[in-house]
C-alpha cells in the first residue's frame, strides 16, 4: 500500500469515527463539540503564531465578534435587538423562534459572524501587524481585554448581563448533537483549507516571514498584505467557531465566554504549543490532549484544577516547547520525510542510545 492511499484511508477512518462519535458516546456530545471548536481555535492560532511567527493573544477578539454577530443576527432578523436584550426585567415578553426562523437565523448569522470577524481582522491587522515580537503579543493581549470591556459596557448587546442566543425550538432535536456536526464540519473544513494553504505560495510566504521578515520583504514579498490576509483567514474561521460556540454554550458572557482572553485566548496558544506549533497536525493533537486533560482535572482535582493547569503550562513551555509533533519529528525524522544521513548528529545519537 503506498503512502498516499494509507493516508487517505487514515483520514476517512478518522472522519467516520468523528461522525459516529455522538452516537457512541452520547453523554459526551457537548464536550466533543467543544473539542472540535478547540481544534479550530488551535489551527487558526497556529496559522498566525506557528506558521507566521506572530504570537497573538488577541485572536479571541474574532471569536467574540463572531459570537455576538451571529447571535445578534439570529435575533435581529425577527425581533428588535434592544428589546430582546432589555427583556431582563418587568414585562413577561417571551421571544420564541420556530425551526424555520432558527435555521434561517443560523444560515445568515454564521456567515455574518465570519464576515465581521474578518473585517475586524483587516482593520486591526493593518494597525498592529507592523509590530513584531513581544510588542505584537502584548498589544493583542490589550486588544482582547479592551474588546471584552467594551462589550461589557455596551447596553445594546446586553452589556454585563450577557446575552442568551435564541432558544432552540424542539424540532431541532438534540442541540448538542446538532452543533456537534456544525463544529466538526467547521474543524474539518478549516483543516483542509489550511492544509491546502500551507502547500501554496502563500504558505511559503508566511513561513518566510516567520523565518526572516526583513529578508522576505527585501525579496519582494508584500509582507504587510500577506500578514493581514493570514489574520483575516484565521479570523474568518474563528468567527464561525464563535457563532457555534455561543449557540452551544447558550449564554454569552462578554468577558467569560466571548472575549475570554485568560481562558480561551491563552488555551488556543497552549494547545498549539502542546501539539507542536508550525505543524499541521500539532494543533489538532494539542487540542485533543488539552481537552482531555482539562476535563479529567476538573473531575478529579476539584478546586485544584487551575493549579494543575498552571503547572501544566509551566511544564509545557519550559520543558516541552517543541510540542508533541516536534518531539516526534526529532525522534522519528524518517516518518516526516526527512532523510537522515548516517553521520548526522541525530542518527549518531540514536545509534548511541540504541
Amino acid at each position: 500500500m503506498n503512502n498516499g492511499a494509507a493516508r487517505l484511508i487514515g483520514y476517512l477512518a478518522l472522519l467516520a469515527a468523528g461522525l459516529a462519535a455522538p452516537f457512541l458516546f452520547p453523554a459526551y456530545q457537548s464536550q466533543m463539540a467543544e473539542l472540535w471548536l478547540f481544534i479550530v481555535f488551535a489551527l487558526t492560532w497556529d496559522l498566525i503564531g506557528g506558521q507566521m511567527g506572530y504570537n497573538s493573544f488577541g485572536n479571541v477578539v474574532f471569536l467574540g465578534v463572531g459570537m455576538y454577530a451571529c447571535a445578534l443576527t439570529q435575533v435581529g432578523l425577527f425581533y428588535d435587538v434592544s428589546l430582546y436584550n432589555q427583556a431582563r426585567g418587568g414585562g413577561a415578553t417571551i421571544f420564541t423562534f420556530d425551526w424555520q426562523q432558527y435555521l434561517e437565523g443560523l444560515a445568515v448569522g454564521l456567515p455574518v459572524g465570519a464576515a465581521l470577524a474578518a473585517v475586524t481582522a483587516a482593520f486591526l491587522g493593518s494597525l498592529v501587524l507592523g509590530m513584531r515580537g513581544q510588542y505584537f503579543a502584548i498589544c493583542t493581549l490589550g486588544l482582547g481585554i479592551a474588546a471584552g470591556e467594551i462589550a461589557n459596557g455596551w447596553e445594546w448587546i446586553g452589556a454585563g448581563s450577557g446575552m442568551v442566543p435564541p432558544n432552540a425550538p424542539d424540532a431541532i432535536g438534540n442541540l448538542a448533537r446538532f452543533y456537534y456536526y456544525f463544529a466538526m464540519a467547521l474543524a474539518v473544513l478549516t483543516f483542509l483549507v489550511l492544509r491546502h494553504l500551507y502547500a501554496t505560495h502563500f504558505g511559503l510566504a508566511i513561513n518566510a516571514i516567520r523565518d526572516d521578515e526583513d529578508k522576505a520583504e527585501s525579496m519582494g514579498l508584500r509582507t504587510t498584505r500577506i500578514k493581514v490576509t493570514a489574520w483575516i483567514i484565521s479570523a474568518f474561521f474563528l468567527g464561525i467557531a464563535g457563532g457555534i460556540m455561543g449557540n452551544l454554550k447558550r449564554f454569552i458572557d462578554p468577558v467569560d465566554t466571548a472575549f475570554a482572553g485568560p481562558t480561551f485566548g491563552v488555551w488556543m496558544v497552549l494547545m498549539a504549543i502542546l501539539g507542536g506549533k508550525g505543524t499541521l497536525w500539532g494543533p489538532v493533537i494539542g487540542a485533543i490532549v488539552f481537552q482531555v486533560f482539562k476535563e479529567v482535572s476538573w473531575t478529579y482535582l476539584l478546586g485544584w484544577q487551575r493549579v494543575a493547569l498552571g503547572l501544566l503550562i509551566v511544564l509545557i513551555v519550559v520543558f516541552f516547547p517543541q510540542g508533541i509533533m516536534g518531539f516526534l519529528r526529532e525522534r522519528f525524522p524518517e516518518r516526516f520525510g526527512h532523510r537522515v544521513e548516517s553521520d548526522s548528529p541525530v542518527a549518531l545519537s540514536r545509534e548511541r542510545a540504541g
Partner: protein
C-alpha cells in the same frame, strides 16, 4: 459623558481631586512598573506574574494585621518574603527560560500567575480584604479634595523605595553587576560576574518591589486573589511608554497613567475605565510603531 465634562469645567477643583488621587495610585503603578522594567531590561523576560507578586505582598500585609502588627511593618516584610520567593522561582523555573524566546517567558510566567492566584484563593478565600492602617483623611478646598493619609503614605513610601533602588543600582556592587549584565551579559561573564546570580537577584528584587507595592495596595485599596492582571498590564504599559532603562520616564508615565485613568473613569463612566487603559496601551503601541515605520523600523 458630556454632562460629566461640564461638571469638570464648572468645578475645576474636582479635576484637582481626580488628578491628585490619580497621582497617588500612579505612584504604586510606577513602582511595579519599575520592577518590570528591571527584569525586562536585564533578563529580557516579560513577567506576567507581576500583578500576582503585588497580590502576594498584599496578603503578607493582611496576615500581619491579623496578628495585630501595624501594616506599615508589612512593607519591609513583604519585600523580604517576596525576594525569597523570586529567588526560588528563578532557580526553579525562570532560569530555564532566560535566554529563550520572549514569548516562552510570557507563557511560563502566566502559568506561574495562575498557580499563585489559585493558591491564594485556597488559603485566603476569594473575597476582598484590606489591611486597615487606621489613618484619617486630609481635606483641601472645603473638603472638595480629599486625600486619604494612607494613600499619601503609600505615595511617599513608593517614592522612597524608588530612590533607594536607584541609589542601590548606581552604588552597590550588586547593582553595578546588574547594570553590567544588562548592558552585555557575555562581557559581564568574561569579567567574572556570575550572571546567573545576578539574574536571580534581579528577579528577586523585582518580586520584592512588587511585594512592597502590594502591601501598600492592601493598605490603601483592596486585595483579592484575582487582582493581579490589571497591575501587570499597567506595568507593561508604563514600561512601553517610558522605554527600557528610563527611570524618570517610568515614574512620569506611571503618575500620568494614574491621573489619566481617573479622569477617564469620571468622564466616560467607571465601566469603561479598564477599556480605556487597554485601548490606550494599543494606541501608544500603534503610534510608536507608526513613527518608527516612517524610518523603516519597527517595535521589537
Amino acid at each position: 459623558m458630556l454632562d460629566n465634562l461640564e461638571i469638570l469645567v464648572q468645578a475645576p477643583v474636582i479635576t484637582v481631586d481626580l488628578v491628585l488621587n490619580g497621582l497617588l495610585v500612579g505612584a504604586i503603578f510606577a513602582l511595579a512598573a519599575y520592577g518590570m522594567a528591571l527584569v525586562w531590561g536585564v533578563m529580557n523576560i516579560i513577567n506576567i506574574a507581576q500583578g500576582e507578586f503585588v497580590m502576594l505582598g498584599g496578603y503578607v500585609a493582611i496576615v500581619m494585621v491579623g496578628y495585630g502588627l501595624h501594616p506599615l511593618l508589612a512593607v519591609p516584610a513583604a519585600a523580604i518574603l517576596l525576594f525569597c520567593l523570586g529567588w526560588v522561582l528563578y532557580y526553579s523555573v525562570i532560569f530555564r527560560v532566560v535566554d529563550r524566546d520572549l514569548f516562552i517567558s510570557i507563557l511560563a510566567t502566566f502559568g506561574i500567575s495562575i498557580v499563585l492566584q489559585q493558591l491564594m484563593n485556597t488559603v485566603f478565600g476569594g473575597d476582598v480584604q484590606i489591611a486597615d492602617a487606621k489613618l484619617g483623611t486630609v481635606f483641601l478646598f472645603d473638603g472638595f479634595v480629599s486625600l486619604a493619609q494612607v494613600k499619601l503614605l503609600a505615595f511617599s513610601l513608593a517614592a522612597i523605595l524608588g530612590a533607594i533602588l536607584i541609589v542601590f543600582l548606581k552604588r552597590s556592587r550588586l547593582g553595578q553587576a546588574i547594570r553590567a549584565t544588562a548592558q552585555n551579559a557575555r562581557a559581564a561573564r568574561v569579567l567574572g560576574i556570575d550572571t546567573n546570580r545576578v539574574y536571580a537577584a534581579t528577579y528577586g528584587l523585582n518580586a520584592a518591589l512588587c511585594g512592597a507595592c502590594g502591601a501598600l495596595v492592601a493598605m490603601a485599596y483592596t486585595i483579592h486573589p484575582y487582582i493581579g492582571l490589571p497591575y501587570t498590564v499597567r506595568s507593561f504599559m508604563i514600561v512601553v511608554v517610558a522605554g527600557l532603562g528610563n527611570i524618570g520616564g517610568v515614574i512620569f508615565a506611571g503618575l500620568s497613567l494614574g491621573a489619566a485613568e481617573n479622569i477617564a473613569g469620571f468622564v466616560f463612566g467607571a465601566q469603561y475605565q479598564l477599556a480605556f487603559v487597554f485601548l490606550l496601551l494599543v494606541a501608544v503601541l500603534v503610534w510608536r510603531n507608526w513613527r518608527l515605520a516612517r524610518k523603516r523600523e519597527y517595535l521589537k
